[in-house]
Symmetry: C2
Subunit: 271 residues, 2 copies
């Protein structure tokens, strides 16, 4: 059957979902979107493909999915239909018709995550689902050094949930940075890389906050990358501070503004 | 029995509560706090008194309550105990020991409410519980005129839920204003007054947005105040945009920065 491939960028509030990926008994983002598509096609089951999973409670500002639709529907209609058949927890931001060669997962050249830490003394009821609360003193200098140590190509075994089955734990982190949002009393961490292991960003944060507190030396990241032992790294930080911000399909976009960007990067193609 | 009166300022995310006031079968803010107090006193039932109710889904940044506690506990301990025995949806911000003369409801000299309207074209999953989405053109000049017409002492019958049993519908609105938060694509409305009728702010917003759209003339507020008919005003806007921001117990504080403030105001005392 002739089908049309759609690439779609979505945002979601992960609070009430058991993550992105479809589950037999729990509500998931993929499950809700596939249900909407089934209504639109009057019963045809369409499987969507995401750029990757997000865990329960993790949010997305720019998750990318693709699927093959039985007819060619104008992109504005596709956007409107999906938005009206899903709850306000999911927002379809952008719809594009792409060639059959496009694949939301296999063709990624990188991803960007952010993690919000609320450093105000008191907890804020309006941030409880959207930040991690951490009211301890922050040594910014130690934090910056530790972030620098994360950047580059390393074996990130120490920062991968130990129940993960993946073999190759080598990834390249293009950017690991933090900014202080003084108005909101928050630290906003940004991580850009060619790929991320299971729970990698959340274990980075759990470890970085211990370094920022002085509970670990500022150069502990270097040691942790060496020892390749999950048990020596910090805890897995709570999911609600984590946002999948952007998924890249072009290496120039993925590395732009980082030390890993060169005018030749684009020609390297997908890695 | 000798008791100590506590005045407490709380914030809450109203999303998962059936309003402030205790209900036999539903979860409420008052119910959660009274449960925490019962645990603290090992079984003594303490009734709390709020400055007023808030409806289901309405938020508070500065709700005030008082209650009488059987022993005099240091304020820091009271704050810590209540925060640890309630969920993160409620935050006790400030605790004060007050005289037996203080009353959270009867002694108010005014309240401040805000209402957030998200005017971005697309809905935002992260604002769905905290703003009203309204993607239509806004005539700021008409809006400003209508807000000016609200200020002052009027019979607000047209802006009171018709099932309300209150007799006297005359209130003084000290401030009715709006600012544009361009960075977030929001309109933030502020209302300060000596008291508010049931659903008054939400009916203001439902009517004001029709004026801003050009669906009502800019001077329609004047007419609505005259006709004293709830059916001629606009709809009751959704609860999730509404915040109880501050409760005043001093007339100078309540009117500060408005045309209703005079150096003599304070001497007028409670009205």
């Amino acid at each position: 059957m002739e089908t049309t491939r759609y690439k779609i960028i979505i945002q979601y509030d992960g609070t009430n979902f058991s993550g992105f990926q479809i589950q037999p008994h729990d509500r998931t983002v993929q499950g809700d979107i596939e249900k909407a598509l089934k209504i639109m096609t009057k019963g045809i089951e369409i499987k969507i493909q995401g750029s990757g999973r997000t865990d329960s409670g993790v949010h997305a500002l720019g998750q990318v999915i693709h699927f093959d639709y039985p007819i060619q529907m104008p992109i504005a209609n596709m956007k409107r239909a999906l938005n009206s058949l899903t709850t306000d927890e999911i927002e379809v931001c952008d719809v594009e018709i792409v060639s059959e060669d496009f694949h939301a997962r296999y063709l990624t050249t990188g991803k960007k995550y952010q993690y919000r830490v609320d450093t105000n003394k008191d907890t804020n009821p309006f941030k409880r689902l959207y930040t991690k609360h951490h009211q301890y003193p922050i040594n910014m200098e130690a934090l910056q050094q530790a972030l620098k140590d994360i950047e580059g190509t390393h074996d990130f075994t120490s920062f991968c949930a130990s129940n993960s089955g993946r073999e190759n734990k080598v990834r390249t982190v293009y950017e690991a940075s933090v900014v202080q949002d003084a108005a909101n009393g928050e630290l906003i961490f940004t991580f850009r890389g060619n790929g991320f292991l299971y729970n990698m960003v959340r274990i980075f944060i759990g470890t970085l906050l211990q370094i920022a507190n002085g509970r670990r030396p500022a150069d502990d990241m270097k040691r942790l990358l060496e020892v390749k032992d999950r048990n020596q790294a910090g805890p897995t930080a709570a999911p609600q501070g984590l946002y999948l911000v952007e998924v890249y399909y072009d290496l120039e976009e993925a590395t732009k503004g980082t030390a890993f960007y060169t005018p030749e990067t684009k020609k390297m193609g997908v890695n």
